[in-house]
């Protein structure tokens, strides 16, 4: 029922090359992306006007704080790390036609396990062992948390939307149970895990406060993009996603590829949790749940599952959310406003795409 998410023409990226058609295609997708962005900014601006804030001042402040101030920019880039890894996770899933809506749970559980594992490990082992092992453990934890939905989808055709959502709710609570009952730091009053000392965390980039996990995340998105668009394995996943019957016709094992999709997607979500803990927080407090999942899903759609576009959108979103957090302190517009903006973007994107689709259909009929 959810087949056909493969963007038309997006698959053309399998063959790079020149030619006017390529430029026209790029121009078209830029137009298809910019129109909704502008529309969303305008309509969201009207909402600001309604609550008595000058939208131009607000937008300018957000961009200034999130992008043009050095401190803000560093925060923005640090924020990108988990979002990019989650984006990579969703690129894999969505291109393969799997609605992994459980990334928040996968992220959170992995984060808690890493938070529990890293401090004791760091006492005994060198950093270059601890960090990779922790990231791998996180990836494995994420993947494990997706196993049940994966098997149910692959072999029983149980709708993964429902199972991944369930696992996310379950995972959120389970993460809390772990923090409060098993991994609790006995020395704090607030329930939280033991804290990884700053010097044992993922090193910062040069002289900045930027968490160098963002490099890992960037690499992950680029690798995922290349794998999905240029490799045989990626094409197999995309074929399953775009037309499972054609996949069978071409001799692909749909159940096995489905499980692989879940495993990779959830492993990346788990890695995102590790990067967030090892790079930024150092521990997990009880009831901590940044809820990146719902925000990143629309971004990946907006980017039409394209890795480069995901990087661009995640950057823009991070600017908005860091700038928005500043603005909420300064201009009194709560950062929830960003959610409205993202929602409007998504709706306008869908609309523009619908109109474009109809227009092209009309053209091909005539």
């Amino acid at each position: 029922m959810m087949a056909g998410v493969e963007p038309e023409g997006g698959a053309g990226a399998a063959a790079a090359g020149g030619g006017g058609e390529r430029w026209r295609a790029i121009g078209r997708s830029v137009l298809l992306t910019l129109t909704p962005v502008v529309l969303a900014l305008v309509v969201a601006g009207l909402i600001l006007v309604a609550v008595g804030v000058d939208p131009l001042t607000y937008y300018a402040y957000v961009v200034d704080r999130g992008l043009f101030s050095w401190l803000g920019l560093q925060e923005t880039i640090t924020r990108m790390a988990p979002l990019l890894l989650l984006g990579a996770s969703l690129i894999v899933a969505f291109r393969a036609g799997i609605w992994n809506l459980g990334i928040d749970g996968q992220f959170l559980l992995a984060a808690v396990l890493v938070a529990a594992l890293a401090p004791p490990m760091a006492q005994a082992l060198p950093q270059w062992v601890v960090l990779p092992v922790c990231i791998l453990v996180a990836a494995a934890a994420g993947a494990a948390w997706s196993l049940l939905p994966a098997l149910l989808k692959a072999y029983q055709q149980v709708n993964e939307i429902i199972t991944t959502l369930m696992m996310t709710f379950l995972g959120t609570s389970f993460a809390n149970v772990l923090v409060k009952l098993f991994f609790r730091d006995p020395d704090t009053t607030v329930p939280q895990t033991r804290t990884l000392p700053v010097e044992d965390r993922i090193p910062r980039l040069f002289d900045t406060t930027i968490n160098s996990g963002v490099i890992l995340a960037l690499i992950a998105v680029l690798v995922v993009h290349v794998v999905m668009t240029r490799t045989a394995f990626g094409l197999r996943l995309r074929t399953v996603g775009a037309n499972p019957k054609a996949a069978v016709h071409a001799g692909l094992s749909v159940p096995r590829l489905t499980v692989a999709t879940f495993a990779i997607s959830a492993a990346l979500a788990g890695a995102a949790g590790a990067v967030e803990i090892l790079g930024v927080w150092g521990n997990v407090r009880a009831d901590w749940n940044p809820g990146y999942g719902l925000a990143i899903i629309p971004l990946v759609f907006l980017a039409r599952f394209n890795g480069y576009a995901v990087i661009a959108f995640v950057f823009a979103f991070s600017v908005l959310s860091i700038g928005g957090e500043s603005a909420s302190r300064r201009l009194g517009v709560p950062h929830f406003y960003i959610l409205v903006l993202v929602a409007l973007l998504l709706i306008f994107l869908a609309m523009v795409e619908y109109i474009d689709h109809r227009r092209r259909q009309a053209k091909s009929v005539s």
Binding site: M2, Q157, N159, M166, F169, P334, F336, L339, V342, A343
Partner: protein, 311 residues
Amino acid sequence: MGALLTEAFVASLVVGAVTAGLPLLLAGLGEQISEKAGVLNIGIEGMMLIGAYTGFVAAYYSDSLWLGFAGGAGGGAAVALLMAVFCVWLGMNQIVIGIALTLGAEGLTALLHHFQFSRTYPRLPDTATLPIPGLAQIPVVGPAVFDRHPIVYLSVAAVFAVVWIYRKTHIGLNLQAAGDKPAALDSAGVDVAMTRTAAVLVTGAMAGIGGAYLANVGAGLFVPFMTNGAGFIGIVLAMLSRGRPTWVLYGAALFGISLSLTTALQVGGVNVPTDVIQMLPFAMVMVVLVLFGRRSSLPAALGLPYVRGAR
């Protein structure tokens, strides 16, 4: 264990279960109607949240709880109208739009709340209840179940009304045909898109009332993100109920009990972390899916836009 079953524990459990379960009941029942007609309404979380906000605003400014529920219904239905336009009429992706509407509702209500109420956090006065003579006098359970706001009784009555509608009216037949074999409905001369639109609007209104209950009766005030996944639980209830309204009632009761178990246990003197209890319903759902996954029945045309002539 004997000490656990004190009067205070049971009373607290049942009171909490009704308060927590009612929004789930309305959401689940509404979602079931949409799904019956073939629309997977992922935006129900957003509908509840908007309903909670508009319901609270209406109740706060009118001093009438009933107008509050009407406001909630209107707010939920307004979001549902967007859903209907995008998904039923234009045939856009139901999941993407559903998530977008949820996000938008979260952001918008939080924003509006911030500007209106964040300084004062106004509360509504305690809800007047309507004790049902006789039943309300039953010890322990009586006051918990039969001394509530009338909307509670109406919601439970709605379950049976929906049973009746499914079985005995043309509306019920049309809904089922729209979800199971839209082509058959179309050939019988009934507009499939209109049928689905009506279903989605009713879903929105019910979810909105559920949200309003959460805000106006459950909490007495509006808090951003207060639905906290209730809409998604509603979706699960609907999917597992296999089209039977009474199953949604049982499911909502079960979820309600799990959600209120923590408080009740604390009242009963046992300290179990909330989170362990909160896992129960979801774990239960997964167990059910593992055991009966293959047989879970959803309308054949669920999630698919209807285009005449296309098979």
